[in-house]
Amino acid sequence: MEALANNLQVLFQGLALGSIYALVSLGFVLIIRATNVVNFAQGDFAMLGAYIMVACLTGAGAPYWLAFVLALLAMAAFGLLFNFGVYYPLRHRSFLPVLISTLGASIFMQNTVLAIFGAQPRAMEKVLNFDGLHVGGVFLDSQYLVILAVTMVMVAFQYFFFEHTLVGKKLQATSQDKDMARLLGIPVALMIAITFLYSATLGGLAGVLVGPILFVSIGMGSIIALKAFAATIIGGFGDVKGAIVGGLFIGVVESFAAYYISVPYKDAYAFLMLFLVLIFRPQGFFGEKVSEKA
């Protein structure tokens, strides 16, 4: 009975962490679909969002909800800046310069934040001011519950937005065939800018949600991004459903492996899963096999 409760506890934590990976992974997928490039600063969106929230809370003394909103707004603006500074000048080049450019942005963001806030990790309060619920032998931490709930809302919102709004449809068209979209009068550059805005906001959201659990640190983004990227590949490169399932999968596997095998290597399990998937099912869970067209 106790073993079952323990396992449920681990599962719950895994799903909550996995939700964070899924949010960041969604950001990856949207940018991949819009630009065919992986944004290596995606995780640092989470880091930056969390630091902005910390700055609003402790620096400016803003109330929690205001800090939350300000952090997301700041990240939306940052997404636009990122689009014009990092992606747009290189949009006609092959993927490698763009990839390296986003990598440069990642280094820049981390070290700028480091210079401002210092290396000491910051603590952040939970969203709700109660600790959590005991259900059976399982402790449901309130922050984990919030993460799960917000992730579900975001997934639903994204589905609605992409399938049932005009902007969403235009975004989809852009991601499927830029030239055709352009011919149809869709402002492709604007659509890509919106994609960066939305992805940065999603990343920021993941950051402010996970902050109370992991501590806010310079390196938090890299670790989350690596796992989210693993989730992106495991789910099927560029597949929205795959990003979510992949994220949850990584979170759960990681929690169980940390519980049953070893904690110091916690961060290595995602990569192990990634290698296994790449060897046995390289197109991921939902991806289709594609080869380059001649």
Partner: protein, 603 residues
């Protein structure tokens, strides 16, 4: 290059350029200066760092600059070399050179394994895989304390003796490092002029085209990773010997990013660029310390500046500082003379026809994409020494068929026989080695390489019946360029050639491999009337008496009718007609398929 030719080339370049003399003098002076002038221990250690890092950055030049594969694990390879040396000597008491060999060997093996992941995964995956690898290396170095000594690191790493002379003096050890670095710079500089180096650049410029013209792209990528890792390992081992102490934070992801930035800043496509970038980025923080107090904050944010610099380099100088210098130098200099075309031998294209079996046979060929049956059970026989055209409306499965024939796609069902051999399971480069040459509808050349280099890559396919050696490859390529009338453009980078010429270079590249079977995917696409007529003449010259078999796709019926012996018509992935041009072009089903006339069901 033969000695005589090398000499001639040097003479052409104006004997000694003053720059070369300056570089040479500085290179010789650098390691000697410390022996003559008094140099502090601190300065020596900076130089030691610069030389050993530069060796690791040379690895980045090979894998990223030459081969176009992203590698974000160079610090891990650097670490393998360093830990190999440190553990071998300090923990297990092995001799220096044996420990170094173990470290470098381990790095090379790890590099090979990482390179193997490119079987299926390029681009982004590779970036992520190498980052993961780098992170795992760091985790293991920190946590596997029994072996790596964990975060405390390993002290007391000894230095070697050379010819009985112990290199305990920093100046002597620095001399060793510098000499090794010079040697490796020379080797990396020479690499692009070799078969392997050209193949690497081909992979970087257009991997699919490289594979199709006969480059074993996977082997080339794995080799690039092995070389890169080995260079990282050598750098790391020398670093460990130089500083006598290592700990995991010398080999983490930040270090990998530094190596990347160094290569990009200096110019990843040249070993000189790599060395220059390394020197600058190592000296920069030291110079910053000398700056006025108001600017002191810069040294706290220098990594942020690296990041910003990486973006700016990508946007404003993608070839790095060395690239800028080189381009300025090239502009200042006169254009290189065109090679002597008078003595170019005519191109030997002859294929002896001894059998009556078809050169190409497709049996029940199917290729499905999900539910789409792009090719749906096609049988075609292409007779030896004929020109066979495959036509059909858009989306009828022509290009898919061609892609299955040369191995870009694996068929869903059916068999492909080239010259009587079943090549169905073989990869494109194996089919090229079997004598299948190809061009693409949307031209796929190696844009920054010269026309000659492009064609040499085609000539260097396995089993090409030419003499061994570079001179034969070069002659073959020049003959092929001569055949298409572009020998005078041999030294021009193909991206600077007009479209029509690019098509011809692509055909020359395929011909240089002495194909038995030439696959042409819409060779007339995008050509104007004059160019089309020239193409028809070229195709006629190709079919006359050489025994070459040509299988081509085109939409220009005039061209197809003029050059083809037989025509096969596809519609909706199925064969609807076959025969001589006269028969086929009057066939009612064919007319219906093209004009959509009602009453002629084609399915």
């Amino acid at each position: 290059m033969s000695a005589r030719e090398a000499k001639a080339a040097a003479a052409q370049r104006g004997r000694f350029s003053p720059w070369a003399v300056v570089v040479l003098v500085v290179a010789v002076a650098l390691p000697v200066v410390p022996f003559v002038a008094g140099v502090s221990h601190f300065v020596l250690s900076i130089f030691m760092q610069a030389t050993t890092y530069a060796i690791a950055v040379l690895g980045m030049v090979v894998v990223l600059g030459y081969t176009g594969q992203i590698n974000l694990a160079q610090a891990a390879f650097f670490g393998f070399g360093a830990y190999g040396l440190a553990l071998g000597t300090a923990a297990y008491g092995l001799p220096f050179w044996i420990s170094l060999a173990i470290g470098v060997g381990t790095a090379a093996v790890a590099g090979g394994i990482l390179g193997l992941t490119t079987i299926r995964l390029g681009g982004h995956y590779l970036a992520m895989i190498t980052i993961s690898f780098q992170q795992i290396f760091d985790l293991v170095a920190v946590n596997w304390i029994e072996v790596t000594h964990g975060p405390d690191g390993i002290p007391g790493i000894p230095r070697p003796s050379v010819f009985g002379y112990a290199l305990t003096d920093d100046r002597a050890y620095l001399l060793l490092c510098t000499l090794v670095m010079y040697l490796l710079i020379a080797a990396v500089w020479w690499l692009p002029h070799t078969r392997l180096g050209r193949a690497m650049r081909g992979v970087r410029e257009n991997e699919l085209a490289a594979e199709v013209v006969g480059v074993h792209t996977l082997r080339v990528k794995v080799t690039a990773f092995v070389l890169s890792a080995a260079l990282g390992g050598i750098g790391g081992a020398l670093y460990a010997g130089g500083f006598a102490y290592i700990s995991p934070d010398n080999f983490n992801f930040n270090r990998a990013i530094e190596f990347l930035s160094m290569a990009l800043l200096g110019g990843a496509q040249s070993p000189f660029g790599g060395a220059l970038g390394t020197t600058l980025l190592i000296l920069l923080p030291e110079w910053l310390k000398e700056m006025p107090r108001a600017l002191q904050f810069i040294k706290d944010v220098y990594l942020a500046i690296y990041g910003l610099a990486v973006i700016l380099i990508m946007v404003f100088m993608p070839e790095g500082i060395w690239g800028l210098l080189k381009n300025a130098w090239a502009r200042a200099r006169k254009a290189p003379p065109a090679p002597q075309v008078l003595r170019v031998k005519p191109l030997d294209l002859d294929i002896r026809i001894t059998e009556s079996t078809p050169m190409l046979r497709l049996e029940g060929l199917q290729k499905h994409f999900g539910g789409l049956r792009a090719v749906d059970g096609v049988d075609i026989e292409v007779r030896r020494g004929t020109v066979h055209a495959l036509i059909g409306p858009n989306g009828s499965g022509k290009t898919t068929t061609l892609n299955v024939v040369n191995g870009i796609y694996k068929p869903t069902a059916g068999k492909i026989l080239i010259d009587g051999d079943d090549v169905t399971p073989k990869s494109p480069h194996e089919r090229a080695a079997h004598g299948a040459g190809r061009t693409f509808q949307n031209i796929r050349l190696f844009p920054t390489m010269t026309a000659l280099e492009n064609v040499i890559v085609g000539a260097q396919r396995d089993n090409n019946p030419i003499e061994p050696g570079h001179q034969a490859l070069r002659n073959r390529a020049l003959s092929a360029l001569q055949f298409v009338g572009l020998a005078d453009k041999a030294e021009t980078a193909v991206r600077n050639l007009p479209y029509g010429h690019q098509r011809l270079v692509e055909i020359a590249r395929a011909l240089a491999g002495h194909p038995k079977l030439l696959l042409l995917d819409e060779p007339a696409a995008g050509l104007n009337q004059t160019e089309k007529m020239e193409l028809v003449e070229l195709l006629k010259r190709l079919r006359e008496g050489h025994g070459l078999t040509i299988f081509l796709i085109d939409h220009d019926m005039g061209l197809v009718e003029k050059v083809s012996d037989r025509i096969t018509v596809l519609n909706f992935g199925k064969k609807i007609a076959e025969g001589t041009p006269e028969e086929v072009l009057r066939h009612p089903d064919v007319i219906a398929a093209y004009l959509g006339e009602p009453g002629h069901a084609t399915a």
